[in-house]
Structures are given as C-alpha cells and as structure tokens.
Amino acid sequence: MAHNTRALNDDEVLNEMKKMVAFINQEAIEKAREIKVKADEEFNIEKAKLVRQESNNIEATFQRKIKQAEIQKKITQSNMINKTRLKVLQVRQQMLEEVFNETVSQLNKVSQDEVKYRDLLKNLILQGLYQLMDDQVKAIVRKCDKELANNAIQAAAKIYKESTKRNINVELDKENNLPDDCAGGVILTSHFGRIRINNTLEERLTLAQEELLPEIRVLLFGPSPNKKHNH
C-alpha cells in the first residue's frame, strides 16, 4: 500500500510491472494446469473405453473363430463317418456279389445229381402249371434234359390233375430249347406262347437272391444295430 502520493519513479514502475507480470504468469499457469488435468482425465476415460471396446471385439472375434473351428471339426467328422460308412457298404456289396457269383458258378452242379434234379424239375413244372392254370402248356428245356424232362412232366401233370381236378396237356417244345450253357430248369408257355413262366435255374437263383438278401445279410454281417424288431 502506497503511503506517498508522488508519482512512481522508474525503479518502482519496473518493480510494479514485474509484480504484475509475475501475477499474470501465475494465474495463467494455474489455469493451464486445470486444463491439463481435465485433458488427462478425459484421455484416460477415452483410452479405457477404447481398450474395453477393442478387448470386447477381440473376444468376440475369438469366440467366433472357436465356433467356426468347432463347426469345421463337426463337418469333417461327419464327412469321415459318411466316407467310412460308404466304404463299409461298398465292401459289403462286394462281398454279396462275390457270394452270388460263387453261387451262380455252382449252379451247374445242381443238374448233376440226377435224382434231385429230376425232382426239382418236376416241382418247377408243377409250380408253373399252377400259375398258368391253362390246359395247354408247352415246356422248353435243354437238349440234354429232354429225357428227364419227360419224366418230370408226367409226374407234375399227374399231381396237377389230382389236386386241381382239371385236365392238362403238357408238351415239350420241340422247336425251342434252352441254350446249352443254361444251368437247367424249364420255361413254360401257354396258349400260343403268350404267357411265359421262366423257371430256369438262373431265374430261380435270381429270385432267391432277392428274397433271401435280408437273411444273407444277417448271416454275413450280423444283425443291424438300428433295427428294432428282428425277423
């Protein structure tokens, strides 16, 4: 506080100015410090937010990738299972074919046992007669079976007449024969050859294969684990 009222001399003026400059400086530094503090705080908050966001993103991406990998694994697994299943089926199919092929090749032996073969022929013919239910039937056989066939025809016709009380006339077809490489059996035709019943051994074998396929499967491969009821 000035007690004198004279004007200030140069030194005093300089002093006053220095004081004012110092004061302004002080105020400025204080305000600047406040601004810096606020800025630092905002920075920290923003940084924390960004870090949290990015962490969440990374976490989400990671989860997605895990899921994808799992799905991929499942797909691969499934593919593998399918492949092996197919392979199993293929191999089984092959085996079945082998069995059938073997059977076919054995077919020729059937006609070698005369007694049995004759009986078989008789039954084949009889079955055909029942199916045709015609009174005029022609039978086509192999050339080598002709004699046997005659026997069989007579026997079959006799049984037919007894059981159905109908008359029938069965003749050997003189013009047509089963080919020589056929394993045996008979083809029966009726009425001008309109209806044919193929009872050749080959045909019978094919039918048997189809019918017995389920049982053969079980015999070869065991019962299927998926089936609920067994025949």
Partner: protein, 446 residues
C-alpha cells in the same frame, strides 16, 4: 488444423511448488560461499568432484545452462553422491539449491535422476527421504519440493510407501507458519495430479481431515482457498472419493458459501469443477445433498453472470441440467410422504414447489388426513426449529391449495398452534408461522 509447435511456450510444469519464503531462503543459500577446496583437503570430496563443483559454483543461470549441457548425467551423480555422504547442514542446503536450480531450469532433467534407479532401486528417492529428518528449516522443505517432482514424474512404481510422505505433509499442514503450510498444500496439489496417489491420500485419514480443517477453520487467504479447493477437485476425480466426500466432511454447504463470498473467478471455477466431479462420479450420493443446500438456485444465479472463462460456463450448465433432472424426479409424492412420516423434515424440493402442492394436496387427506395429522403433531411436539418451520410452512401450503382443510386444522388444534408459534423465540419459525396464518386468512371471504 495445422500443428504449430511453439518452442517459446513452455509446457505446464509437472510440479509447481514455490513461494516467496522458499525463494528468499534459496537465494540466501545460493550466495553463501562454501569452502570446497577445504573439503578436498579434508578428503571429504574427490578431485573430480571438486572440479565439477567449481564449474557450477556461483555461476549465472546462463553459464549453468552451458555447463550442464551434455553433462547432466555427471552432475546428477555428483549431487546424489554428495547429498548422501556429506553431513554439514550448510553444505547440504547448498547442494539442494544446486539440484533445485538444475531442475527448475529444465524439468525434463528429472529423467537423469530417475536413471539412478538402475544402480540402486531405492534411488533417487532415498536421498531426499532421508533429508526430511534434518533439523533445519530449509532442508526438509526443499527436499520435499524435489521429491514431489520425482514422484509425479516417476516412470515406474515407487519403491517406498507414500504413507510416510503424506504423514509428513499432514504435519506441515498443521504448522502455524503460513509459508510452511502454503508449501505443503502446493505439494499436495502437484502430487494429486497422479490418480493412484489420490486414492492413497484419501486413505491416509489425517491428511484430508487436516486439509478440510484448514479450509473451514483457519481462515485461509483466497490464494490458499484456491489451492486447497484445487486439491479437492483433483481428489474428486476418483469415484471412491466422490462417494464419501460430502458425507464425511459436509463440504457442499461450505463450498457454496465460499463460492458466494468469493471475489476471484478462479475460486468459483474450482468449486464448480469439484461439484461437477461429485455429480459425474457419484450422482446418487451428492445430488440430493446439493438440492437441499439450494445449489440449483445458486447455479441459476451464476448463469446470469458474465464469465470470461469458457469452461466455467460449461460446468455451470452441466450442473444446472443434472440438478433440475434430479429435482423433478425427487418431487414425487412418495418421497414427500416418507419424509413426513419419518419426522425428519428438511427443505427438500417438494416443500418449495408450488406445482407439487397443486398436484398433490388432495393426497394429504388420504387415510383420514394421516399426513396432516403427522404435521400437526410435529408442530406441537417438536423442539427442532427447522422442523417447526417446515411443518408450519407445509400446513400453510395445505390450506392455500385446499381451503376446505381449514376446518379440519381448527378441529385438531393445529390452527391454534400455528398462531402460538407466531410468537416463538426463533425468527424463522415466527416467519413461517406468520406466512401460514396469512394463507389461512386469505380466501376467508371467498
């Protein structure tokens, strides 16, 4: 926006601790001659150390700058070594001044001190912590100033517990010497820049207590008020602090009073800043107390003033907005009812709001005028003047917005009681009773 790096504008200093008292002591010590040659002869210092000292002893600031350039590491080590091995107080004082000059000239040089930790993990802090025990006015003060700069610029976690330091500061805060506690507050203001130190200080129980005491009881100067409230502002950035701040120290009313009386803009600036932090970090704990302390009115008052500072305007608007939101949500009848039934009457928002009374007056008649009866009972039985004033006021509002209630008041003897209170010893109670009677009498001829 193009970036202009203006080399002439210095950055905000990390630590800002100085006053004329310390400066005077410092220049006194700086000019005192020290017999370095004698020390060399007594084998207290080496030849190399002597040579280095000669180059900086009593040099001008410009000369010092030249000498220190590129030799910072050497001089840092020199000062550190000397401070640890020399004991004479005047020598230690002088070296502290050298260190202070080195760091004041360029704050960045503090990194050289931090490099000392590569040799010994307790350095550089141990040097200065030890000097606190010296029986001298200057040495602990200057050491604490340097230590402050070291801890706010610390590149890694501190190898010592800050509790000790804070306890020492608390001691200084209690000093009767204004210069000493001025420096102590400045140290806190710099230290609290670092968030982790804020929570640390808050947990050192005595420290903040003393600070609050300084503000409330010991009548500080405006500059000191600013410093102390600046510390509070920094502390309230932490949610933990904002939650307990007002509950512990009841500072909201105190700060409002200071703001009302303050002449300097910067005091109001930090007070509003502190309030803003309280609202942002812990609104549920603070908004109600602020409303009770009539902060909303004060903010509207402040809004109408002209400010040179942009931030203060933003902060005031923010506060106003949040206070108004809270006010509207609190002006519910349920809040009012629970307050009345608790008997702890306060000047909470519902009492004063005309809109509240207009909308809700009928509800006071529910359950056989339950709330009115409670108010009347409080009026007759309470000895708390505030409760009497508020109860009288409320009953006045009741009859104002529900004239048919007058008969009821008369029946339960409340009217009689209010008239008695017009001669009560407390002026506020008399005033409220008078106004209530006035409301009672109006409309008498309608």
């Amino acid at each position: 926006m193009t970036e202009v790096i203006d080399e002439t504008v210095p950055d905000v200093p990390l630590a800002f601790v100085s006053n004329s008292y310390l400066d005077e002591l410092t220049s006194g010590i700086r000019s005192r001659p020290i017999p370095w040659d004698g020390y060399k002869t007594a084998d207290l210092i080496t030849k190399d150390e002597l040579d280095l000292l000669k180059k900086v002893d009593k040099q001008s600031p410009e000369q010092l700058r030249i000498v220190l350039q590129r030799e910072e590491e050497k001089y840092t080590e020199l000062y550190a070594n000397l401070l640890e091995k020399l004991n004479r107080v005047d020598t230690v004082q002088y070296i502290l001044v050298l260190v202070n000059d080195m760091l004041s000239d360029n704050e960045q040089r503090v990194t050289f001190f931090h490099k000392l930790s590569e040799k010994d993990v307790e350095l550089p802090y141990r040097i200065f912590l030890n000097l606190f025990k010296v029986e001298d006015e200057f040495v602990p003060l200057m050491s604490s100033k340097i230590l402050t700069l070291l801890i706010v610029s610390a590149p890694k976690a501190l190898p010592f517990d800050l509790d000790e330091f804070f306890r020492w500061i608390t001691l200084k805060l209690k000093s009767n010497n204004t210069n000493v506690y001025d420096l102590a507050v400045q140290i806190l203001a710099s230290t609290l820049r670092i968030p982790s130190y804020r929570t640390k200080l808050w947990e050192v129980s005595q420290a903040v207590d003393t600070l609050v005491n300084l503000l409330k009881v010991r009548n500080p100067t405006p500059q000191m008020q600013y410093q102390i409230i600046f510390c509070f502002w920094l502390l309230t950035f932490e949610r933990e602090v904002s939650l307990e701040f007002n509950k512990k120290y009841d500072l909201i009313p105190t700060l409002i009073n200071i703001a009302k009386a303050a002449i300097k803009e910067k005091i109001i600036r930090v007070i509003i800043g502190t309030f803003r932090n309280l609202v942002e970090k812990a609104p549920e704990a603070n908004l109600p107390a602020m409303l009770v302390a009539r902060l909303l009115n004060f903010c509207e008052n402040l809004s109408s003033r002209k400010w040179t500072d942009k931030e203060i305007v933003e902060d005031i608007d923010f506060l106003k907005e949040r206070l108004q939101e809270n006010f509207h949500s609190l002006t519910t009848f349920d809040e009012y009812a629970s307050e009345i039934t608790s008997g702890m009457l306060q000047w909470s928002p519902p009492h004063e709001s005309d809109q509240f009374w207009r909308q809700n007056v009928a509800k006071l008649n529910e359950k056989d005028h339950e709330l009115v009866r409670i108010l009347a009972r409080l009026l007759s039985q309470s000895s708390d003047n505030a409760v009497l004033s508020i109860a009288a006021h409320d009953l006045g509002q009741y009859v104002k917005y529900y004239p048919s209630g007058k008969k009821f008041l008369q029946e339960i003897g409340a009217k009689q009681r209010i008239m008695e209170l017009m001669t009560h010893e407390d002026p506020e109670v008399r005033y409220r009773a008078l106004i209530a009677v006035q409301k009672y009498m109006t409309h008498a001829w309608v």
